[in-house]
Subunit: 147 residues, 3 copies
């Protein structure tokens, strides 16, 4: 049993965007030679998140509408009173992005069998930008038996 | 340290149902001989989910009402425009089930000490069917020191 | 590769409170000598939870308001009909706390590199008391290569 780690870089677009990380992660599993074990995905920002679900174009629109309904951008949030906090000059008003991130996930663990992510038919590894555009990173760890 | 995996099969009933996986998982820990380490539970569908909470009959009703309030089945969802997607003839209108699944969890990691799930007094491993009835699978991995 | 576990004790204050576990967990990593691997955090109660986000005073108020909006304490819940359940005399009416816990997380896995939690700049390990005051425990596991 061994453990290997890598940072994936993701350059995101404006606002809320959903990215499918499955091909990148599957490629990396093959590159490092993990045969049986598990992958840990870790979102390294307070306004990004992870989920495992279907990457279907129309569902992605529904997901964004759902997140906007739960945590509307224009509600009143104390975190958005930038004049009452010590912040850099380019600090965004993004309390809603933090709340969306906490409703989704920061870490996910996915079993790997015979060098393949053991996902169900419709499952994809989804990365959520909730306050883009930005340069983002996701940490991937492979744990188990390697070639 | 070793890792062992198994697929649990679950035949679910109609609509939204909550199942207590704790006895099945505890049995499996004893069968494979995990002494100290951890269990990873992985829900392998986009309309099922996991959570760890109390399996109390009246709370289960509250949980279903809560999920229905957050993501009502009859809201307008683009994913439910089946005529605009390439889908099999028995494709269900289940956008709400996807949103509920993303609000709950896909993966959970539970410590195991002295061959027992290290759960708190009222905690159970809950599996959520969000669009039943179906044949479902949950992947269980045991990681750590075995007998 | 080895695995080590410890229970952290947390004495919480009344109602909903958010605690930053990062310093305690980072100290423990150094004490047990984990160099590369991962930490699993596990919340051992049905009315506590975990999340990984920013520990900023004004955001904490927004998070509490958000949880109260999703699952208001005074909504009608079947779990709160204490006279219809077999319960101890001090059983609280806390259905909302269970629902909040399920919206957040019970388990989180955080990569560790060079003996440091590999968190992003603004990320902290947050523990949520959702029905305090109580004596609570969080289980921490270190998995990987030790000094």
């Amino acid at each position: 049993m061994k453990i290997k780690s890598e940072l994936l870089n993701i350059e995101t677009e404006t606002g809320i965007q959903i990215y499918n990380l499955t091909p990148k992660v599957q490629d990396w599993i093959e590159r490092v030679g993990l045969q049986n074990g598990q992958i840990t995905l870790f979102s390294r920002h307070t306004t990004t998140a992870l989920a495992i679900n279907e990457y279907e174009e129309r569902l992605l629109v529904d997901i964004k509408a759902y997140l906007n309904k739960l945590a509307p951008e224009n509600d009143r949030y104390l975190h958005n009173d930038l004049h009452l906090r010590v912040v850099p000059p380019d600090e965004p008003m993004n309390a809603h992005s933090h709340l969306m991130a906490m409703t989704l996930s920061t870490s996910e663990v996915i079993p790997v069998m015979d060098s393949k992510l053991a996902l169900g038919t419709w499952q994809s590894l989804l990365f959520f930008e909730l306050d883009g555009p930005r340069q983002r990173t996701v940490l991937v760890q492979a744990l188990g038996e390697f070639e």
